[in-house]
Symmetry: C2
Amino acid sequence: MPPRAVNARIRLLEAARDVIRAKGFAATTVDDLCRQAGVTKGAFFHHFKSKEELGVAAADFWSETTSALFAAAPYHQPDDPFDRLIAYLQFRKELLAGDLAEFTCLVGTMAQEVFDSAPAIREACHASISGHAMTLVPDIRAAMDARGVSGFTPESLALHTQAVLQGAFILAKAGNSVTLAQDSVDHLIRYVSMVFSQAGKEKK
Amino acid sequence: MPPRAVNARIRLLEAARDVIRAKGFAATTVDDLCRQAGVTKGAFFHHFKSKEELGVAAADFWSETTSALFAAAPYHQPDDPFDRLIAYLQFRKELLAGDLAEFTCLVGTMAQEVFDSAPAIREACHASISGHAMTLVPDIRAAMDARGVSGFTPESLALHTQAVLQGAFILAKAGNSVTLAQDSVDHLIRYVSMVFSQAGKEKK
DNA sequence: TTGCCAACATACCAACCGGTTGGTATTTTT
DNA sequence: AAAAATACCAACCGGTTGGTATGTTGGCAA
């Protein structure tokens, strides 16, 4: 465990996370990242043999940090699987606060840009998104079984929640408005509630 | 009406539509566009004073061509507003075919990339997305009134449909799978059906 | 015919970008 | 303590990029 080595690498990954979310992958230069991380270009190419490899590493880094965030989040507390699912969506909605580049999804942004030109990055983004979605599957499956819901797979609903979130990010970016994203998540919560026959429980 | 002039401009806009959807805005070079359009750089900067201005023009061009496409589409035929809405979503699902770069949304892709660095493009993308969404509002409002649905605005549901589609594009790009996008649209159709109390009409 | 202007084409440039090189300081291993 | 590996730096390089400067061409009005 080298003392400073890990530092530079992690600082570059953090810089990638922040700068790429604001400017996009292609528009972010290696110099941008070095400046933000406070290291030189030599250090950059010591840790990553190319910009593309940094993209892959940034996606993996994103997977690790976000899965830690969600694992520690409080939405796992309810006893009922359905309640946990709703609590998850509510938690996602609460995350939509502050500056746009701070809560949007790195891997969604990168995937959009490089899906055709950098398959390695695309694949790492795919693993990140679907990996996170799959953490929802046990609860969705349990809720479906408990309430006799059918007509779709737990996996497809899990992925749909991520699609709505990704789409919400795009609307928010285009409209420069966080509210747009929140409204979409509200529709998603309403959908999930109705699908699990909670439609009767109208909020006041 | 100049004979060749309009040609070069439109060919550049078509090139932008095709190349940017595949490579993204930042990764698309002016030379890329000139090559694809079969014109020289001189022609490019004659019609657009900068790459950014082309981005704005491409977004506007996208608005025009897509609104013509949707205006001529057959989903307007049903008499009932709700049926028209479902027909629209079914139509959107049917459009998800062929190569990824052929059915994804130019303005969604661009907005994601340039929302922080090119406000003019961002605004043109916003106008395109919300302009299209607003064409759905009369039918949504009529369906809500006819069936006594409330709890959200017609505008927010219209925008939500676009969010789902944009998110579906991202999942499809990340997973390199059209099916992912189609599944999400299925969930959206199920949501809209349930919201308008069509949940009883289960498909076989 | 002349004059003029839009619509291109050709040639070019300065800045920038990803990546390399050769070297040094600091650990780790032997 | 010597040797080897790791972590990092400053300077540099060749190709690329958005943009410009300077023509050239064809149509059209006076």
